[in-house]
């Protein structure tokens, strides 16, 4: 019976380009997401290289200030919406059905659509760079009135944000529908792998916050073309209102980028420490409380706009409060490693680096969260250093860890461990050379989003740029390792890692096109967290 079903599927599986365009298979769509995000990572990275080249020395060298500013803006939009978020959704697509024993995502057609509108969104965004008046250059936060001065690119920017929002919301709905309805019998919510938990919570954040962003940019659009005055002071509106609405989305967005990273690291560390995750339940509750708190701290991004002292205090204390569940997580990761039989394969190296470097980013975040101190740090390179520690050495490092961890499952081959370790060390050293000096630049008062700077900042900027180029080049090694792994190598076992737990390791490597068409029987040991 099962062989008949098997042949039947193969008969209908489209091949070539059609396989990818019309795919409703969670593994294929996951692969598409991951490849797309890697491409975006390099496009956004190329923009970062332009930025660092311009900042290599004081004065204007390579690009004019307008173009520099649009590089800063588009780099941010591409890295956030094009690289980190789709990579997370790609991992969710690939792994969640495998982890909960489901045959596919709950809404496979919507899954296809939510991926395929992404390339169009980014085509719109990148096309703005060639338009009359240049690309968006007022920062990714799109503050009015500055953003309203944008030329022909303005409506394209707005529609890009709409498209990316629609895509992410559809992805989020799909993930929640899958996890709530498609789990294998016996897999209760508190038995789910932590990666699934963090993604469910992330999906709720997406659904609650992205529509608000869509509303905010729609207001910008009607302000510019349809005579409304939401943010126009001349018509009785208030530009500061935009900042409130934007950051009501913007702060949860930060955790949309970070929570899946927590899930990845919580999966990898137990595998290579060969111990169950310490404090599973507290991890779930910590993730949920971070998510809930993230809706009550938005104004710490705008302490300097002028707020009543009580407001500033409220947002300061609420921000400090987030350090508590985050601290619980860091503690649990360390306790998991404590007296574990640890080995240091590339995924583990990236995960440990994540724990250390994300914590550094967290601490600089705490510094920024202190209202009076923020008045000095606001809009300086200190902020740039902070969010790159949490997003690059945090989120991106965890994605690298995830890629190495699951590559054997995806391709059926082990990647080249030696090269991966070289990639890890190059990335880690380069990223710190790149971003650590930016703390000093910020404390000394160098403003962000400026193509030129005072000569006193020259040395640290040169060091930072050298780190930047080194980081950029070393990521090419990652592409080489991935391609090499996809083409062949040592065969991976079903359980590619000795200490790995979870349903995804019970299916062969590479994972067959269809898995868990009949729900798996869960044994007790599979459900241990």
């Amino acid at each position: 019976m099962s062989t008949v079903a098997h042949e039947h599927d193969h008969h209908h599986a489209p091949t070539g380009l059609k396989r990818w365009i019309f795919s409703t298979n969670h593994k294929d769509i996951g692969t598409l997401y991951l490849i797309f995000s890697l491409m975006m990572f390099f496009i956004g990275g190329a923009m970062a290289m332009i930025i660092r080249a311009e900042l290599f020395q004081p004065g204007l060298q390579f690009v004019d200030p307008q173009f520099y500013n649009s590089m800063v803006t588009v780099h941010a939009l591409i890295m956030i919406f094009g690289a980190v978020m789709p990579a997370g959704v790609g991992l969710a697509n690939w792994m969640i059905p495998l982890m909960i024993g489901a045959p596919d995502m709950a809404l496979p057609r919507m899954n296809n659509m939510s991926f395929w509108i992404l390339p169009f969104g980014f085509a719109l965004l990148i096309s703005t760079l060639f338009m009359n008046g240049g690309g968006p250059a007022g920062g990714w936060t799109m503050y009015p009135p500055l953003v309203l001065q944008l030329g022909d690119a303005f409506p394209f920017l707005i529609f890009t944000v709409h498209i990316l929002g629609v895509s992410s919301i559809m992805g989020a709905i799909n993930i929640i529908a899958t996890v709530f309805n498609m789990r294998a019998p016996g897999m209760t919510l508190m038995k789910m792998p932590l990666f699934v938990w963090t993604w469910v919570i992330t999906a709720f954040l997406l659904i609650a916050s992205l529509p608000v962003l869509a509303g905010a940019v729609t207001m910008l659009l009607t302000d510019k073309y349809f005579g409304t005055s939401f943010f126009n002071a001349a018509g009785g509106g208030d530009p500061v209102l935009f900042q409130h609405i934007f950051w009501f989305f913007g702060h949860p967005e930060v955790y949309i980028l970070a929570l899946p990273a927590f899930g990845i690291v919580s999966t990898i560390i137990p595998t290579f420490a060969r111990k169950p995750l310490f404090g599973y339940a507290s991890m779930v509750y910590a993730t949920a409380s971070i998510a809930i708190l993230s809706f009550f701290v938005w104004a710490h991004h705008m302490f300097t706009v002028g707020m009543p002292i009580k407001g500033e205090l409220f947002f300061m204390y609420a921000t400090m409060l987030i350090a508590v569940p985050t601290g619980v997580k860091v503690f649990n990761w360390m306790a998991t490693m404590w007296r574990g039989a640890m080995t240091f394969e590339a995924p583990m190296l990236f995960s440990i680096a994540f724990v250390i470097l994300f914590t550094i980013g967290g601490f600089s975040g705490l510094m920024l969260g202190i209202t009076p101190v923020d008045f000095q740090y606001h809009d300086t390179y200190f902020v740039v250093a902070h969010f790159h520690y949490v997003l690059l050495t945090g989120a991106v490092f965890s994605l690298m860890a995830a890629a190495y961890y699951w590559l054997p499952k995806w391709t059926g081959y082990m990647y080249d461990e030696k090269l991966a370790k070289i990639h890890f060390w190059l990335s880690t050293i380069a990223a710190n050379v790149l971003f650590f000096p930016q703390h000093f630049l910020g404390l000394a008062g160098m403003p962000r989003r400026i193509p030129d700077y005072n000569i006193v900042f020259a040395d640290f900027n040169m060091i930072s740029s050298i780190g930047g180029f080194a980081y950029g080049i070393s990521q090419l090694l990652f592409v080489y390792i991935v391609i090499k792994c996809a083409l062949g190598g040592k065969k991976a076992k079903a359980q590619a890692w000795e200490g790995a737990k979870g349903l995804e390791w019970t299916v062969p490597s590479p994972a067959p096109f269809h898995t868990f068409e009949t729900p798996p029987k869960l044994t007790k040991s599979m459900l241990e967290n």
């Binding site: 709950a106 809404l107 919301i169 989020a172 709905i173 929640i176 529908a177 709530f180 309805n181 498609m182 659904i207 609650a208 916050s209 992205l210 529509p211 608000v212 962003l213 869509a214 509303g215 905010a216 207001m219 005579g227 005055s229 939401f230 126009n232 002071a233 001349a234 018509g235 009785g236 208030d238 500061v240 209102l241 409130h244 609405i245 009501f248 002028g306 707020m307 009543p308 407001g311």
Partner: protein
Amino acid sequence: MASKQRGVKKTTTILFVVTILMFGFGYAMVPLYDAFCQITGLNGKTQRVTEGAGEASPLIDREVRILFDSNVNGDLPWRLKPSLKSLKVQPGKFYDATYTVTNMANVPVVGQAIPSVSPQVASLYFKKSECFCFVNQVLEPGETKDMLVRFEVDQDLPKDVGALTLSYTFFRAKGDNS
């Protein structure tokens, strides 16, 4: 399997509704923010009163200095100047102040003024009975006009506020293309 399908349908429907509600919440933040500003004085938005309404309480012996400030936004070809730099007032009494505005362009221009008071906490106690703000003002080429603002400072103004600034900014009115 059928129950699974039903479950998926139900979850999806609920989540779509939540999405639409959250889109609406973005818009709901506009009136919420206005109400919030009204209550807290955030943004320096000034208060309106009708003169003679309410009981007049006996004047207290206190002096507050009002500083007058003026700005013209963007490319509006106007000049705006307060007739006085500052004025000492007694809380609870009404005073007049004038701003002189001139159109420097050779075409008629429509502008609109927005007031603001700082420190923010004082804006709750700064009350205008007459003002030239929030309405379109048309100035012919080269025309000069005096604009009146009549105001009082509430007696409950916190003790630590000894001076406050009244600032007007003229914007080009929406839809003015001159």
